[in-house]
């Protein structure tokens, strides 16, 4: 196998397995999409970006959304090295067991790529989970939560900082949701343990049943004074999230701003005005 890297397209792919099998994981942040007709126009631009390979690095997709499933299908049909993990939604024993089996399958696939068998003991010691960043609550009164899915850069964060507000929590797949405070049980099977740890991490927008309690706890814990939700156009999970945040923020009497844009660098001028106006209400 030529590539030393493995791309991941979802924060639920355990990076520990990729490392244990001798590869280096990298988050797939493809360049903004160019239209060549492989996917319909009304797919989210992150999925449309991921369908065009910019290099030959293998990719691990999950069934996190229907767009990603089809992205995997298209890339597979073109003979590329891709893998699809079937991702459950709940943290119950049956789902953990199923996901544990999926992770074992992932390790087997990685073993084939590297030409080595999956070792009986995957980790010689407790895997070093990515640690969540500790919140640093500043004295700034304009503290907000920024929620969403994925963006190629931190342009929106810079924009918020320009207007002298502080983001106390970045609730994005590429930020704090991708590294969670996880515990590992040495008594349990390694794959089951990883499955349980990853399914228990802060839920993403797809994990509908657990999402509302999580965001409520997030606002209460951080003491945020406002919430900005950035969704990519045509992202279904992002759209499901709008009423949750709106209901929560209206109940807590804090302002809420929904921005809908594309997966690309830079923020349109309209967003500057809207963010500025929003921050003035805090």
């Amino acid at each position: 196998m030529e590539s030393l890297y493995i791309y991941t397209a979802c924060s639920y792919v355990p990076l520990e397995i990729i490392r244990a099998m001798g590869f280096t994981p990298k988050r797939l942040l493809a360049p903004a999409p160019s239209e060549t007709g492989l996917m319909p126009r009304n797919y989210c631009s992150y999925v449309r970006a991921c369908v065009y390979p910019s290099d030959s690095i293998p990719v691990v997709f999950t069934t996190c959304c229907d767009g990603m499933r089809r992205c995997y299908d298209i890339r597979r049909s073109r003979g590329e090295t891709v893998f699809l993990l079937d991702l459950p939604r709940q943290v119950v024993d049956t789902h953990v067991e199923y996901y544990g089996g999926e992770l074992r399958r992932l390790a087997g696939w990685l073993g084939k790529l590297s030409g080595s068998a999956v070792p009986e003991k995957l980790f010689s010691r407790e895997p070093l989970f990515e640690k969540i960043q500790k919140n640093t609550i500043s004295a700034d009164e304009r503290q907000i939560i920024l929620s969403g899915t994925v963006l190629p850069d931190d342009g929106i964060l810079q924009l918020i900082n320009e207007y002298e507000a502080t983001v106390v929590k970045v609730d994005f797949c590429t930020e704090q949701r991708s590294g969670a405070e996880m515990t590992y049980s040495q008594k349990e099977d390694e794959f089951l343990s990883l499955a349980r740890a990853y399914l228990s991490k802060p839920p993403c927008l797809r994990m509908t049943g657990r999402r509302f309690p999580y965001i409520r706890e997030l606002v209460e814990r951080t003491g945020a004074r406002g919430v900005i939700l950035y969704t990519i156009k045509f992202c279904d999970h992002g759209l499901y999230e709008i009423p949750l945040w709106r209901h929560l923020c209206s109940g807590l009497n804090i302002p809420f701003l929904h921005l809908e844009g594309e997966y690309k660098s830079g923020m349109p001028a309209q967003f500057h005005t809207r963010i500025q106006a929003f921050l003035e209400t805090i």
């Binding site: 996917m39 797919y43 767009g67 089809r70 299908d73 298209i74 699809l84």
Partner: protein
């Protein structure tokens, strides 16, 4: 092999583009349809006598008054031989293992799971029903179906079967560009004929 496919005896094109398996009267409707078609097969009397060009319809159709399917029928010799949502992909249900057999039935749904399942089904249907062309109606926002269009187009092209993708909305007629779609269908039929 489906005897109706072999005998080229077909139902009316717009008769069964529906997933009404659980509707009241569905058993009666499908039983009558089966009886009618069996009689036609016996008599050698197809619903569409002249079958020059046979089409396979993929995904849904507009469920509101639309001249689209009528236009296909108007030109004598065109017939929608089959459509994929009516394909029976599951084994007979077992009363002894009701839950297991229903679960197995749902898991065979070609819109669920890897895309190869749907490609395989479409290729098999195109072969079994001897279709000359395939039309895919891309319902707005259906990720499961519309995301497969490029894969289906490539697979059918490899088999030498012409493919047309129509974008629209099967429920909301405001999202269906009727004039544009009709022109594209007419061009497709001209090309086939």
């Amino acid at each position: 092999m489906n005897p109706m496919a072999v005998n080229r005896v077909l139902p009316r094109p717009d008769a069964i583009i529906a997933t009404s398996h659980l509707c009241d009267g569905a058993v009666k409707y499908y039983s009558l349809l089966r009886k009618d078609l069996s009689e036609r097969v016996k008599k050698g009397c197809p619903a569409v006598p002249l079958q020059k060009k046979r089409l396979l319809w993929l995904h849904f159709k507009p469920y509101y008054p639309s001249p689209l399917l009528k236009r296909i029928e108007q030109d004598p010799g065109n017939v929608i031989a089959f459509e994929e949502v009516s394909a029976v992909t599951w084994s007979k249900l077992s009363p002894e293992d009701w839950w297991g057999s229903v679960a197995a039935k749902i898991l065979t749904n070609p819109f669920w799971g890897p895309g190869e399942k749907r490609v395989e089904l479409v290729l098999n249907l195109a072969r079994e029903y001897r279709c000359d062309g395939v039309i895919h109606f891309s319902h707005w926002g259906c990720r499961q179906s519309t995301g497969m269009v490029s894969i289906l187009r490539e697979a059918l092209n490899r088999e030498g079967i012409p493919f047309l993708n129509l974008e629209g909305d099967c429920i909301d007629s405001r999202n269906f560009m009727e004039g544009q779609s009709m022109t594209r269908v007419e061009s497709f039929l001209e090309m086939l004929n």
